[in-house]
């Protein structure tokens, strides 16, 4: 019995669970699927526990400013982490770009969106969904793309706004908006676009959607937070991130 007990203690001591920490991570909606996969791997490899919250970056910013207990933010842009750092709410020197987002014009209907986005010029649809450009970087990029195409004025009245990129996806996938600008990561499965029709917006139509991560003030002195930040840069994580259509 004593031996068994000693063995038990030895196992407990050797397992990474001994120093396991719990992390609260705020994650931009568009990075939901890849982050679930990365967090699962990270938990397996390190024994730390990761609690993920998904939402709009703007909302997280407001919450963090008002004392939300997140240890880390995976933002949908690069300005929010910079602002947080400037305001002393994030730890200087921890900002890093973990992914570059890809915008896509998508319809749940096959054949509606063509590879040249001529569908926008024809305008034979009632609703075009975009994320709220005031709040969501993908929404701002969508508006920039419409500007580059010179279609903003004529399509303005057809725009419907999702609160974040997740709701924008919901509007399009339910068919209530015939098409919309969403994140490639939302419609891609193992490197393929599974449903409907899509136009992957070329890079030069909008400023790159640089998505930065940062350790927040409440994550100070938490080794798990640093470990997760490093983990996002490992080849293992890179494979996952790229499989969802992000660039690095």
């Amino acid at each position: 019995m004593k031996k068994l007990f000693a063995l038990f203690i030895a196992i407990l001591a050797a397992s990474p669970l001994a120093q396991a920490e719990e992390l609260q991570v705020a994650v931009a909606s568009n990075f939901t699927e890849p982050m679930k996969a990365i967090a699962a791997e990270f938990e397996k490899d390190t024994g730390h526990e990761v609690q993920l919250s998904f939402g709009a970056t703007g909302k997280f910013y407001a919450q963090i400013k008002n004392g939300a207990p997140y240890h880390m933010l995976l933002s949908a842009d690069d300005t929010t982490p910079a602002k947080l750092e400037l305001e002393g709410l994030a730890i200087p020197g921890t900002r890093t770009t973990y992914a570059i987002g890809t915008l896509v014009l998508w319809s749940a209907k096959a054949g509606l969106v063509d590879s040249e986005a001529a569908v926008l010029a024809k305008g034979e649809f009632t609703h075009l969904a975009i994320a709220n450009p005031r709040l969501a970087p993908y929404g701002a990029a969508a508006l920039e793309t419409l500007d580059s195409l010179g279609r903003t004025a004529e399509l303005r009245l057809k725009l419907v706004y999702g609160e974040n990129i997740a709701q924008t996806y919901q509007f399009v996938s339910s068919g209530n908006a015939e098409l919309g600008f969403v994140a490639l990561s939302q419609i891609i499965q193992q490197g393929h676009i599974e449903n409907g029709s899509a136009w992957i917006v070329p890079d030069h139509f909008h400023a790159p959607i640089r998505q930065d991560a940062v350790i927040l003030a409440s994550g100070r002195g938490k080794p798990a937070a640093e470990a997760l930040l490093r983990y996002l840069k490992t080849p293992k994580a890179a494979v996952i991130i790229q499989s969802f259509g992000y660039k690095l």
Partner: protein
């Protein structure tokens, strides 16, 4: 002075709440009257269905409305077949969503008022050969007046305060579906706290005055008819 977009949101909200209240008083009266008169076993089922929006999170209602009113849902297919298009992202869509959402707040006070009407009065009128419609309009409706006022005020106020359902089916379109609560949410998200306060304080003031008027009115009624 409120800024332009806040003003537009306020006007839209008042328009929505007015349309919804008028329609709800008609629909609510019919449902409430049926509920007070019927001996059907369906009564409790209908009562439970009417009360559902009180307990369900608005997001549940909004989510299912988005799906059923969408092009692949039963309501969406019907409206498309009728040439009306689909309802989400439209003012009409919001009206329908709000009617469902505020239904119990209108039906229940009217039903209670109807139930409180002394049946003997109606029977007496019947012996004097008043036909049913006459009995309803000249006895039941006047006696149930406090219930109607409560119903109208609550229906209106509850529609003004609606958020989750509109967020799910509205699409945040200025002048169409961007009501006060959505506009307020937008301001908060965009960290425009100044404009957010403007709307939030206006809403608190409005709600307080509404309830104050309602309660003082109800008190007056009680003291007139103790």
């Amino acid at each position: 002075m409120p800024d332009q977009s806040n003003l537009a949101a306020i006007l839209l909200t008042l328009k929505l709440a007015s349309v919804v209240t008028v329609l709800l008083l008609l629909i609510g009266t019919a449902i409430a009257w049926w509920l007070t008169q019927t001996r059907s076993r369906l009564k409790t089922v209908v009562e439970a269905v009417v009360a559902l929006p009180i307990v369900l999170p608005p997001t549940v209602i909004g989510f299912y409305l988005l799906i059923t009113m969408g092009p692949n849902g039963p309501i969406g297919k019907l409206t498309t077949a009728l040439g009306l298009g689909t309802l989400p992202f439209t003012f009409t869509g919001l009206v329908i969503a709000s009617i469902i959402y505020s239904l119990p707040f209108v039906v229940q006070p009217i039903q209670n008022a109807f139930a409180a009407v002394e049946p003997r009065l109606i029977e007496a009128a019947a012996t004097l050969r008043a036909h049913p419609w006459d009995r309803f309009t000249s006895i039941v409706l006047p006696l149930a007046r406090p219930g109607f006022i409560t119903a109208a005020v609550l229906g209106f106020a509850h529609t003004v305060g609606e958020f989750g359902v509109v967020l799910m089916v509205g699409g945040n379109i200025p002048g169409q579906t961007r009501v006060v609560s959505i506009q307020l949410y937008d301001h908060v998200e965009a960290l425009e706290y100044g404009q957010a306060h403007e709307l939030a304080l206006a809403l608190i003031g409005f709600s307080f005055v509404t309830l104050l008027v309602l309660y003082s009115f109800n008190r007056r009624i009680v003291s007139i008819n103790p």
